[in-house]
């Protein structure tokens, strides 16, 4: 059904603007600024950080912890598009004493956007590398669109670690929902009191621009600041775990090994071997053997790799590998045939694996009937 224009709503009276939340100073036409530093060190600013664990594209990239900018934008909508604007930005960086300073910029109304972008631009260019939560898909593209809409060129390319990707590897199978607030709760043990839900953020700003009400803004400022603090905490937690220091709560070993393998394969191997030992006898949920076999194969250790076949899960691909192993290593054609049949049954009908398994079944059948000379084909 068509969405008809509603009958004209009563015009809202533009009330006198309410007082702006404390702690902010005006730094330009329509731009406000505040800096918040909370006590307690997060990490030493001078210590070097490797970004490789966060993305293969950042392989071998290191910078000092103090050169990182943890950032987060608050916007008027989540769908993107040219009509969605960012009105609040937070940038966190480590001070020399290891405490995290968070600088926030607020845009008071639409016409201030060019000035707002210039302010953000200065922050971005100061940083050696950027850290965000889902920023590679949301915040950065949106920032690029805002620049384009205001006649600025594309943003300077900077190394950018999106912590969401790493978080998904660590917690997708154990926590499921990898939103920052969910990870904060389950991993960092942080509970926010009275946090504004993300869906209400746009209305808070509209309430300010359209009606001069600032009531909800203070909660958005707090939300934005805490997001950046949690982001920084999570970043260092993951960076250390990837180097073998600590074991984050509810962390999936296979996922962690995946991050570790980007910076230290020996460490990843250890983590995976422990995981195999912990998986036990249930052949359904075994996940550690496959990545370890790949790692060993990559490093030219085929014999050690083949020893792990027994630890593969009994899914179509696992059964197929076991069938190959039974034929070649154990010379047990009957067992190999049985496994190949199981594999064909488990595979998706009509898929490549199913076809390969069926071919293998018929070859093994002939071989078993003595029709095919023994040959070590890959089946």
């Amino acid at each position: 059904m068509r969405d008809r224009a509603a009958p004209s709503a009563p015009r809202t009276e533009h009330q006198a603007p309410e007082a702006f939340p404390d702690g902010w100073t005006t730094i330009g036409d329509g731009i406000r600024y505040r800096e918040t530093t909370r006590s307690g060190p997060v990490a030493p600013a001078r210590s070097p950080v490797e970004l490789g664990a966060f993305s293969r594209r950042l392989d071998k990239l290191a910078c000092s912890a103090g050169g990182l900018a943890f950032f987060d934008l608050e916007t008027t909508g989540l769908s993107g598009g040219s009509g969605t604007v960012a009105f609040l930005a937070a940038f966190g960086s480590l001070r020399d004493d290891g405490a995290l300073s968070v600088r926030q910029y607020f845009m008071e109304d639409y016409p201030a956007e060019p000035a707002f972008i210039e302010t953000l631009s200065a922050e971005f260019s100061r940083a050696e590398a950027l850290v965000s939560y889902n920023g590679s898909s949301f915040d950065m593209p949106l920032y690029a669109v805002r620049r384009a809409m205001n006649g600025f060129g594309p943003p300077d390319p900077k190394p950018h670690a999106d912590v969401l990707h790493a978080a998904r590897r660590l917690w997708r199978t154990t926590i499921g929902n990898c939103s920052l607030s969910s990870i904060e709760d389950s991993v960092l043990g942080v509970r926010r009191a009275g946090d504004i839900p993300g869906s209400e953020v746009p209305e808070a700003w509209f309430d300010w621009v359209k009606r001069g009400r600032s009531g909800l803004l203070a909660r958005v400022f707090e939300h934005n600041e805490l997001d950046v603090r949690s982001l920084a905490a999570l970043f260092f937690l993951i960076a250390e775990a990837a180097r073998g220091i600590g074991w984050p709560a509810a962390c999936d070993a296979v996922g962690l090994a995946g991050l570790q393998s980007r910076v230290d394969e020996a460490l990843a191997e250890r983590t995976l071997r422990q995981a195999i030992a912990a998986e036990g006898q249930d052949a359904r949920n075994r996940r550690a053997a496959r990545p370890l076999m790949r790692l060993l194969g990559r490093n030219g250790r085929p014999a050690e790799r083949d020893e792990l076949v027994g630890f593969l899960p009994d899914d179509a691909a696992g059964l197929f590998a076991k069938s190959v192993h039974a034929e070649r290593r154990a010379g047990d054609v009957a067992e190999a045939l049985l496994l190949a049949i199981e594999s064909a049954k488990a595979a998706r009908e009509g898929g490549t694996l199913a076809m390969r398994a069926l071919k293998r079944v018929s070859r093994l059948e002939r071989k078993l009937a003595g029709l095919v000379p023994d040959r070590h084909s890959s089946g």
Binding site: R2, A5, S79, Y110, V209, K210
Partner: protein, 775 residues
């Protein structure tokens, strides 16, 4: 085969003793020679070479005319029958522009994704033939996320559809800067598809496109292509909002064609019932196919298409004849893209001999030329008729189109007045770019895309709409600009097409299979694939296990049955507003908003071939609701038409009102030049809202497209035609050609037709004898 002796095949068909007695007219369109011109002097040698390698060494006159218009910087629309070399009318000037300027870009818009793919293949063939440094990229809903960036960045020609431009490209124009800044040409093919509300939306999308281009300093030219309609220039200008030159002289050759009017034999002369047009057209198609004539049969519904294709294939299964190699396929919406492709290719290459289709094959999908087209019943508009007839006919060899009339009043009227097909030319396509509802929707989208500057021109009334949007808080006026100030993404909520976007996927679960075999829009799904319905897909029968509307899926299982199912759809209405009164005191009418609710609560099981009713079943589904515009014609007892009704017995009054309503509804499309499916109608002996007898006619597009407003103006003409039809019909007491066959409920009523005639006379009198409205 018909190819060489094709003329004989046509004559043979016409002299067939089973056919000849029922042919009421044969119109022969003579062959036309090609008009050639040389390549234009400025043509890039690479293009010249590309054309030469494809066997093209000169142009048809209309292709050259297009080139010259493009060279002079004009917008133009070219009217192109099937197989007239349409694509060169735009591909040549576009390719030239892209070769001249490495930054230049072009946008091609097609109404469907299937057409985009056809045209990309066509363009790529030209590009490859000349090894041209041009990349054409499709960008639509099917384009994977991973290749979208590449299409944006390196596609010199972007091939898309208006829906994608509306919801995907324009709202994200900042990611398309290079493209918009370089945009030189916008090609709008199959322009005639953009009529009615859909066309009104597209005109506004184009307003937005022009605005975004201007923002990046570009002013693209428009090239439009249309099938034959009455007013191509006017429609093109309405779509792009500025003068457009029409190229209507076609230089392509045309072979001879016969248009045959066929009125099926009467089976009941007393009641005026004729043999079913669906069965008769199937018989004709079977005859043609058996004689080696490649044939397309156009049927009116998806269900009919499947049933007729099955019948035809069954007929050709007989292994004792030579016909068993004849293959017939159904073609309709809801088939999977791969299946459509397969059928299209089969038709082009000749491995499929016949096809039964809905109007899905009207559009310019390339299936090559067939020998004959059989059209079962009036397709709703002259353009549709000629598009369907145009599916038969190639550059060489005679072809024919056979129009098979049904008993419906419109069909019988046209059989009696064939000059309406042949004399009056194609009808006009109408759009209303300033339709307030459509326009306001696109002002929202435009505000989202780019803040409006104070005084910026955009359509008829942008200031007023923005002021209204500011009141509702959707935009904010500050610093001399209007900014979008809402967390929503407006294009997402605005659909260009009347049909709802959410589709139900049909999943085959036979023997643990879990395969999508088709899809269907939600309202149709409720009437076609309800629980226990028989769903026929390319001749296979399935029974519906579960229609899960919430999860948009329908689970089916293969099952052979000897019956098919047909839902009994009930419609009820509710008046929402009375906006405008007209007519006269004795026959007032009211135009306003109406809520139309339709629900299917029962279905019939009908035996194949005999259509015998062998049982009923229940349907448990929520109704479909639509708000639209309607005109209510009222019959107060103080006026003469109402007095005539008031003097009747209750049953007679109902029977006469129903006859009046049916006749007016059948004949209104002739005056409004719309499709009969565009209008809904019902009658009330004592209306709930007005308390007196009433007849309602409504627009079947949600929100209305102005049809009811137009009907209110032309009501006298419609009444006049209806009266003429009833008065001149020599049936005894109503037949399908005039007031219709009486419902079972009215079987006892005598002189139904005479009663309807009296009411029509009085009604026409009340609105003024020669059509002018009385006081």
């Amino acid at each position: 085969m018909i190819n060489e002796d094709s003329k004989d095949a046509v004559e043979e068909f016409l002299s067939d003793p089973e056919i000849a007695p029922f042919v009421t007219r044969v119109e022969r369109l003579p062959a036309v020679e090609a008009i050639w011109t040389d390549f234009p002097p400025g043509l890039d040698p690479r293009l010249r070479q590309a054309l030469a390698s494809r066997g093209v060494d000169r142009l048809y006159s209309h292709q050259r005319a297009c080139w010259d218009l493009a060279a002079a910087g004009n917008d133009y629309v070219v009217v192109t029958p099937t197989a007239s070399g349409k694509t060169l009318c735009y591909n040549l000037p576009v390719a030239q522009a892209l070769l001249d300027d490495p930054d230049a870009r072009a946008l091609y818009l097609f109404p469907t994704k299937a057409l985009s793919q056809d045209q990309q293949a066509e363009m790529n063939a030209l590009i490859e033939a000349g090894n041209l440094p041009i990349k054409a990229a499709t960008f639509d809903g099917d384009t994977p996320q991973s290749t979208r960036k590449a299409a944006r960045d390196s596609g010199r020609i972007i091939i898309s559809n208006p829906d994608m431009l509306h919801s995907g490209v324009l709202p994200n124009h900042a990611k398309w800067i290079k493209f918009f800044a370089g945009l030189r040409y916008v090609v709008i093919d199959e322009m005639h598809a953009y009529r009615g509300v859909f066309g009104s939306h597209v005109a506004n999308v184009i307003r937005r496109l022009i605005r975004i281009c201007a923002h990046y300093g570009a002013a693209p030219r428009f090239i439009l292509c249309s099938a034959t309609i009455g007013n191509p220039g006017e429609l093109a200008e309405a779509l792009v909002g500025r003068p457009v030159t029409a190229v209507t002289q076609n230089g392509a050759p045309r072979a001879e064609k016969a248009v045959v009017f066929y009125n099926p034999p009467l089976v009941d002369a007393v009641q005026g019932i004729r043999k079913s047009s669906a069965n008769e057209s199937m018989e004709i198609a079977a005859k043609l196919l058996a004689s080696g004539t490649r044939t397309i049969l156009f049927a009116r519904s998806r269900l009919k298409v499947e049933i007729l294709a099955s019948y035809l294939n069954q007929r050709f299964e007989n292994i004792y004849t030579d016909n068993r190699h004849i293959r017939v396929e159904p073609y309709r919406s809801g088939l999977l893209p791969g299946e459509r492709r397969l059928i299209e290719r089969g038709l082009r290459e000749g491995s499929i001999h016949g096809v039964v289709s809905t109007n899905a094959l009207e559009l310019g999908i390339d299936i090559g030329g067939l020998d004959a087209a059989v059209i079962a019943g009036w397709p709703g508009s002259l353009s549709s008729f000629w598009q369907q007839a145009g599916r038969a006919g190639r550059r060489r060899g005679a072809s024919m189109a056979v129009y098979v009339a049904s008993s419906a009043p419109v069909d019988q009227y046209l059989i009696a007045h064939p000059e309406r097909f042949l004399g009056s030319g194609a009808e006009n396509a109408r759009i209303d770019a300033d339709n307030p509802y459509v326009y306001a929707d696109h002002v929202k989208c435009a505000a989202f895309e780019l803040p409006f500057r104070e005084g910026e021109p955009f359509g008829p009334d942008v200031g007023e709409v923005l002021a209204f949007l500011e009141e509702t808080g959707t935009v904010r006026n500050t610093g001399g600009r209007w900014f979008w100030s809402d967390s929503g993404y407006p294009a997402e909520k605005i659909s260009l097409r009347s049909a709802t976007a959410d589709n139900v996927v049909i999943i085959d679960t036979t023997k643990g299979r879990n395969e999508v075999i088709g899809e269907m829009d939600r309202p149709s799904a409720k009437e076609l694939v309800f629980d226990d319905a028989i769903y026929i897909h390319r001749g296979r029968q399935y029974i519906v296990l579960k229609l899960d509307i919430e999860n948009r899926q329908c689970l089916v299982e293969e099952r052979e049955t000897n019956y098919y199912t047909d839902a009994v759809v009930k419609t009820d209405i509710k008046v929402l507003s009375e906006d405008e009164r007209g007519g006269s005191e004795s026959l007032p009418f009211v135009v306003g908003d109406l809520l139309v609710r339709s629900s299917a609560e029962k279905f019939k099981k009908l035996r194949f071939h005999t259509n015998e009713n062998i049982g009923y079943g229940e349907i448990y589904l929520p109704p479909e609701e639509m708000q639209t515009r309607a005109v209510a014609v009222l019959f107060p007892a103080t006026g003469r038409p109402g007095a005539i009704l008031a003097a009747m017995g209750e049953l007679e009054r109902a029977a006469v009102l129903s006859a009046f309503c049916g006749t007016v509804r059948s004949l209104a499309p002739v005056n409004l030049l719309c499709d009969r499916s565009d209008l809904g109608a019902t009658w009330r002996a004592r209306d709930d809202h007005y308390g007196i007898p009433a007849v309602y006619l409504w627009d079947r597009y949600p929100g209305g497209t102005g049809l009811t407003e137009a009907l209110a103006l032309s009501l006298p003409g419609v009444l006049k035609n209806a009266l003429e039809r009833v008065a001149s019909c020599d049936c005894e007491d109503g037949c399908p050609s005039c007031v219709g066959v009486a419902d079972q409920a009215f079987a006892a009523v005598r002189k139904r037709k005479a009663g309807a005639k009296r009411v029509l006379e009085a009604a026409l009198m009340a609105v003024g004898r020669d059509g002018a409205l009385e006081g």
